[in-house]
């Protein structure tokens, strides 16, 4: 009984870890996307005549 409970705890902890990794990874991906979108130039090119 106690062993089963310990195993369940380990599995839950591992699931929590995997879920945490996925959440961190996805948020990181989103942040990188936002950073790249925010830093790509949007100012139109104006020929200066030189």
């Amino acid at each position: 009984m106690r062993r089963a409970a310990t195993n369940k705890g380990k599995v839950m902890n591992r699931l929590r870890k995997y879920f945490g990794e996925a959440a961190i990874g996805l948020v990181l991906g989103g942040l990188i996307f936002l950073a790249l979108v925010a830093t790509v130039g949007t100012v139109p090119f104006i020929y200066q005549g030189y």
């Binding site: 870890k17 961190i24 990874g25 996307f33 790249l36 790509v40 139109p44 090119f45 200066q48």
Partner: protein
């Protein structure tokens, strides 16, 4: 209760089960990061740019000749469609590809296409890699892009005003990532990349080949910008009326940083009434022909990749106005550039590469120009280039049949 960093760490570990501890966990996070980036592309797809987005394409009525260059900030660089069985000419060049007069505005490659509508029974299509204000590294980037397209031939316009001017080497740095992805499998080109590209250029350039969200980020930026316009203090809906052409002093007043002043007036800071011809002469004389410059390096790599290409390439120097050439200062400066170009071309012989280092202004009849290098009426130049292209294709035995139509029959 959280008192210090250790408490915060313990709480995070409890919530996330110790995610990020250990190399395997970090690897999984990175994998999820890529999954996230890929998911954005699937969940929020964007339409690819259209030819009509480039305002210069509105000047070209021929549906078989189109400018493939995207916005100057767009890291995708070019639109490179597959034209199927058509014979595709990738024509690369700066503002000297234009022919602008009071009655007409055309592009020389589009006019040449009308004179050579068919090659070997295949319709001719011209993809124009037009880069306004292009410098030598921009032409290299466009050439790499063209070589990685399905083009059957490359034609390159080398404006003598800028080819060896080592104070201005690049104007279209948005092409860096794209070029990095093109040269990644060519170690001989890496030295050039190391001189121009940042680590971000290389990383995003490589990532863009696999991840749509990164590749299309300029389009995403436009969409986001539309939603954030309320946040800007700049009123774009009702701009103030145009003030017309600015005086030289007003132009200086409108400059936003000292570099712009330097770029425009560095050659003769004391000249009060400097004309465009004076300035263009200064650009010609500003060519650094001492050897071993960065310009030399870029030109050398440029000729190197063209010489090693499996498709024919024709490189020409656009004409300087015949009026300017009568001035010995222009003629002598140009001759030095022509000789240097010829010497560099000789170091990179290729069975399918022809470098015509002599400015076309020396062989063409007098033409109308807007300044010393921009033509107003391109007639003789179109005839010359159409024959030059056909002759090169026939001489290299790349094609069997190439006929130049007379101007009257060109549609």
């Amino acid at each position: 209760m959280i008192h210090d960093v250790k408490d915060a760490q313990a709480e995070l570990d409890r919530l996330a089960g110790g995610a990020g501890k250990g190399p395997l966990s970090l690897l999984r996070i990175v994998a999820w990061m890529f999954v996230g980036l890929l998911l954005i592309g699937f969940a929020w797809p964007v339409a690819q740019p259209k030819y009509s987005d480039n305002k210069y394409n509105h000047k070209i009525l021929d549906p078989l000749a189109k400018i493939v260059t995207l916005d100057k900030n767009d890291t995708r660089g070019f639109k490179r469609p597959n034209h199927g069985k058509a014979f595709t000419i990738a024509w690369i060049g700066p503002s000297t590809l234009q022919s602008i007069s009071k009655t007409s505005y055309t592009f020389i490659p589009a006019d040449v296409r009308k004179r050579i509508p068919v090659i070997d029974g295949r319709n001719v299509v011209v993809d124009i890699y037009f880069l306004s204000g292009a410098r030598i590294m921009d032409l290299y980037a466009a050439t790499q892009a063209a070589l990685h397209s399905r083009a059957d031939m490359i034609v390159l316009d080398l404006n003598p005003l800028w080819v060896y001017n080592d104070t201005e080497l690049q104007g279209w740095s948005n092409l860096n990532g794209l070029t990095a992805s093109h040269i990644i499998k060519s170690p001989s080109q890496w030295s050039l990349g190391a001189q121009f590209f940042s680590p971000e250029d290389v990383l995003t350039g490589l990532a863009a080949t696999k991840i749509p969200a990164i590749r299309d980020r300029w389009t995403y930026a436009q969409k986001v910008r539309n939603h954030l316009s309320w946040f800007s203090v700049l009123n774009e809906k009702t701009p103030p009326p145009s003030s017309g052409p600015l005086s030289p002093l007003q132009q200086v007043a409108a400059m936003t940083d000292p570099l712009q002043f330097w770029v425009k007036y560095r050659f003769s800071p004391t000249a009060k009434n400097q004309s465009i011809a004076d300035r263009q002469l200064a650009f010609l004389q500003g060519a650094n022909l001492s050897g071993g410059t960065i310009s030399d390096d870029v030109v050398s790599h440029l000729f190197g990749i063209l010489a090693g290409a499996k498709i024919p390439a024709y490189v020409y120097v656009p004409p300087l106005s015949q009026t300017a050439l009568k001035d010995p200062r222009f003629s002598a400066s140009l001759a030095k550039i022509e000789n240097h170009l010829a010497a560099q071309a000789a170091q990179h012989p290729g069975p399918l590469l022809l470098v015509n280092s002599q400015s076309l202004g020396r062989v063409l009849p007098p033409m109308e120009f807007n300044d010393i290098v921009h033509v107003a009426k391109d007639g003789p130049m179109v005839t010359y280039l159409a024959h030059a292209i056909c002759n090169h294709l026939l001489n290299t035995k790349t094609v069997q049949h190439c006929v130049v139509l007379p101007p009257t029959k060109a549609k």
